[in-house]
Symmetry: C2
Subunit: 547 residues, 2 copies
Amino acid sequence: MEATQTALEPVSFETHPDHYKHLRLEVDGPVAKILLDIQEDGGLRPGYVLKLNSYDLGVDIELADAVQRLRFEHPQVGAVLVTSGQEGVFSSGANIFMLGCSSHAWKVNFCKYTNETRASIEDATEHSGQTYIAGLNGVASGGGYELPLACAEMYLVDDRRSAVSLPEIPYLGVLPGTGGLTRLVDKRKVRRDLADVFVTLAEGVKGKRAVKWGLVDGVFPTSRFEEAVQARVEEVAGKGHPERQGIFLDALQPEENDKEVRYRHVHLDLDTALRTATLTITLPDSLPDIPAQARDLGADWFPLRAFRELDDAIMRLRFNHPQIGLVLLKTRGNQDIILQLDAQMDARREDWFVHEVLLLMKRTFKRLDYTAKSFFAIVDQGSAFAGSFYELVLAADRAFMLDEDGVQIQLSVMNAGTFPMGNGLSRLATRFLGDPEHAQKMAALRSPVGAMEAEELGLITIAADDIDWDDEVRLAMEERVNFSPDSLTGMEASIRFAGPETMETKIFGRLTAWQNWIFQRPNAVGPKGALSLYGRPESPEFDWNRT
Amino acid sequence: MEATQTALEPVSFETHPDHYKHLRLEVDGPVAKILLDIQEDGGLRPGYVLKLNSYDLGVDIELADAVQRLRFEHPQVGAVLVTSGQEGVFSSGANIFMLGCSSHAWKVNFCKYTNETRASIEDATEHSGQTYIAGLNGVASGGGYELPLACAEMYLVDDRRSAVSLPEIPYLGVLPGTGGLTRLVDKRKVRRDLADVFVTLAEGVKGKRAVKWGLVDGVFPTSRFEEAVQARVEEVAGKGHPERQGIFLDALQPEENDKEVRYRHVHLDLDTALRTATLTITLPDSLPDIPAQARDLGADWFPLRAFRELDDAIMRLRFNHPQIGLVLLKTRGNQDIILQLDAQMDARREDWFVHEVLLLMKRTFKRLDYTAKSFFAIVDQGSAFAGSFYELVLAADRAFMLDEDGVQIQLSVMNAGTFPMGNGLSRLATRFLGDPEHAQKMAALRSPVGAMEAEELGLITIAADDIDWDDEVRLAMEERVNFSPDSLTGMEASIRFAGPETMETKIFGRLTAWQNWIFQRPNAVGPKGALSLYGRPESPEFDWNRT
C-alpha cells in the first residue's frame, strides 16, 4: 500500500468551478454559497467511494480553489455560506477507506493541505471581509465538523437526528487531527471536560445541548432552517463590497516532467539523484505602475502570478516529489524591481486588490514554513533577495551568501510585519527574538548589504568568498540530504516557530505531531488497528500500554 | 525487547544522597554543588554501560532527589553548581544503548521524567531563590547539553576540545527532544538558522563561537575555569538565605504489591483486569496550627507528606503500571480541614517552608496534567474536594458528582492562581477560557456547592442522583478503558492546555509529540534505523520520503 500512491500520476492543484466534481459555487451579489455535493465515484485515487459527502484531496483542492476565487473573482462578496447539497448529511469528513489505503506520507500531507485550506477560510474571514458561515443541514461528523469549526459561525438543523460529532477516537483510534481538537478548546473555547465527553461520543451532540456546550452557534428546526441561515448570512454580508470589481484567475498550466516544472516566473528543477530541487523565481525587466484601479493589472500582475506559481510549486513538491528533501531557493533579476514594487504596494495597501495580493504572498510564505522539506536560500551573483523576496531568506532554514561585488540583499518596509508567520510575528522579529532592539534596527535598515556585513548583522547564515563558495554549499547540501528525513521534519517544526504560539501554530505544530504519531501506531494502522479494520466485521485489538 | 522492561522489578523513585550511585551533593553555606560522576556499571536496568557520564532513569531519579532536597533540606542555598566529577566530559547525555533496548513506552516515559526534572530546576531558580549554574568542564553533548540548558547560566571550558553539541540528528536520527530544541530557540533565543546549523554539527561548537551563537554564557581557559565558575556561583548565591532552616525529608516507603500501593495518606488501588486504578487521598481528622517557624511542622506536615506521596504514586503509575489507562481520583475526610489548611497557608505564604510546600503541590498537579492516563474525579459521599483539593477536579478529564445531601465541593483562594498550569494560567481560568467573567466569579465563590448547582456552574462535568450514579460512572469507565490508548493520549495532550503556550507546554506538547513520532519511525527504530544501529559497524538505511 505504502508505495502505490506516489506511482500514480502527479496531482494537479489547478481547477475551476466549471470543472468541479464535488462543489457548486453560487454567487448572488454580496452572498456566496459553497454547496458540498460530493460525487461518490469521483475520488482522486482509485480504491474508495466518497459516500455521505466524505472527502479526499480532490474535494479539498476544489474547496481551496473556491475560497481563492471568491477573494479574487468575487471580491464584492461579504459572506459565504458553506452547506450541503445532499439530503440529511452535511459531511461525514475525510473518507476513512481513503485514509486506510493511504501511505503515512500521503495521510500527513493530505491533513496538512486541508488544514491550510481551513486556515485560508479563517484568513478570508479575518482579513478579506468575507465571513464564512456553515449551515449544517444534516449530520456533520469528523472532518465534516472540523470544516465548520473553521467558519466564523455555524448553525445546525434541529431535526432530532442531525448531530455534530468527532468520532475519530471511538471509531478509528486516531484524532480529530485536522484542527478539530485545537479549534474546539482554543477557538470555540469549549470547556475541556465537555470537549473530553464530546470527542468520545460517537453519536455526537445535537439540538440545544450542542448550543449549550458551545459546539454550534444556534439550531433551527427543519422548517425554518434554510430561511434562518440564509437570513443570517445576508445580515452578515450586508451590502458586501460593491466597490470591488473582480478579476479572472487564469490557469497556470505549468509544463511538468520528471526533471522540472516550468511556470512563467517560477522554475522548479528536480535532481532526484541528489534528492534536491532548485526553486528559482525570475523577475521581469520592468513593472507597470499601479493604476487607479489596481485590479486593472489583472492576473498577469507579477506578484500575483509569481506567488500563485510558487504556491502551486510547493504543493507539487510536497505531493508529487516526496523524496526531495532539500530545496534551494534562488532569485534572478534586478532587485530594484522588487524594491520599487514593494514601495508601490505599500502606498496602495488600501486598494482591495493590492491587499489581496499581499495576503496571498503571506499565505504562500506560510506554506514554506509548514513544508516538511529543508530550504536553503542561495544568495549569489544575479540574485534579487530584496524586500518581499528577502522573506524567502528569512523563511529558509539557512541562507548562504556569496561574498562578491554586486551580491547584495536589501530590506524594505515589507519585512516589518506585512507577512506575519503563524506565530503572529514577522519573520524578522522571530529571527531576532533574543534581541528586539536589533530586530527593530534591521526592520528600519534600507541600505544594500554585502555578504560579510549581512553575516555580521545576522541577516544571512553563512558568507563565503568565491574560493570557498562551491564547496561550502555543496557540502551543506550533501550533508543535509543524508540525514534521517524524519528527524529533520521534527527538528524544523520545532525551531521554525520560536516565540508566541497561536491557534495556527498549535494546529500545525502540536496537534499535527500527535496525529502523525498516532498515524504510525499499530493501534491505528497495524493489521488489527482500528483504522485498518474500519468497516470490517472484526474488532480492533489494542496494545493497552498507555504511552 | 518491547516487553522485557516492564517484567523487571518495579522502579522506586526514592533515594537519598547517602545512597546515590552517580551524583555527589555537596553543600557549603549558600552554595551547593551537584557533581555528575556516573558509575558505568550502575545502570537501573541490565544491558548497557553508562560510559562518559551518560545517564539513564536511575541517574535522573538521583538528580530529581537532589533538587528536591536542596529546596527542603538546604533552603539556605542560593546557587547550585552542576558540574562533572569526571575528567574531560561533562555528560554525553542519555545512554544510547539504553534507548536502543527500551520499549517505546519506556523511552517516552523516561524522556518525560527527565523533562520534569529539568522543569523543576527552572522552577527552583525562578521561585525558590536557588539559581542553577552549569559548569561544563568537558564535553556536553545531547542530553548532556540539554541539562545545562535548564540551568540559568552555563560556562564552558575553553580547552580546544570541549564542545557543546546536540548530535541526535546526525548520529541517531532522532531529536534533541528532552527540551533541547525548544530551549535553544525559545529560552536562549538562538537564531533559528544558527540553531539549524548547530543541531546538525555532530562535533558541536566550542570556544568563542559557542558564546557568539548564544549557546553558552561564557568560556574560561582550563587554568582559570574552576575558579572563575566558582566565583560566579558565589556571586549569584550571595549570602543565600541564612534565615531559612531546613527540614529532613524522610523516606515514604510505601507498601507495594500487585494490587495496591499504600502510603500514609495516599492509597493506590489497582484493578488490572479493568485497567483502572483508584487514587484516594485521606485527610487527617485535624491539623496543627502553623507555628512561628512553619518548618517546625517538618516532613510530617500533611500537605507536604500527602503531595510527596501523590507525586510518588503518579510516577509508579506511569512506569510500573503502563496498562492502567484510567485513574479515579477520590478524597476522603472533612473538607473543612482543607479549607482551614488553605486559609492557614494563604496567611503564611511568605514563610519559605509554606511557599515550598505550595510549589511542591503545584508541581505535583502538573505531573497529573502531563500524565498519559485518563483521570476521572469522583465526588461522592465522604469526599473532600475543597480548595486545594478541588484542583484535582479541575485537573481531571471529567468530574462526576453525586447529587445527594452532604456531597459538596467548595472553592478557596488557592484555586485562583496559586497552582498555575504549564500554560501559565490557573486551572479555573483555563476551564472557563471562553467566559473570563464567569471564571472570575467562580474564583471568588466561597459557598459550598451541591451537585446540580456545580453542574450548572460548570464546576463539575456530570451530576447524577443515587439511582443513576453507579451506572453513570461504571459505563463511563468501561467506555474509557476500551478506547485506543494512543488516541486518548494525543487527545488529552491536545485539550488539557487550552489558551496561551509557554516554553513548558511547547516542550511537553509539541517537542515531545514530534519525538514520540520519530521514536516510532523505522528510520530511527527499524532494524536498519539509526538508533538501532548506533555503535555498530553498519550504516543506517533510510526511507527518503519526507513526511
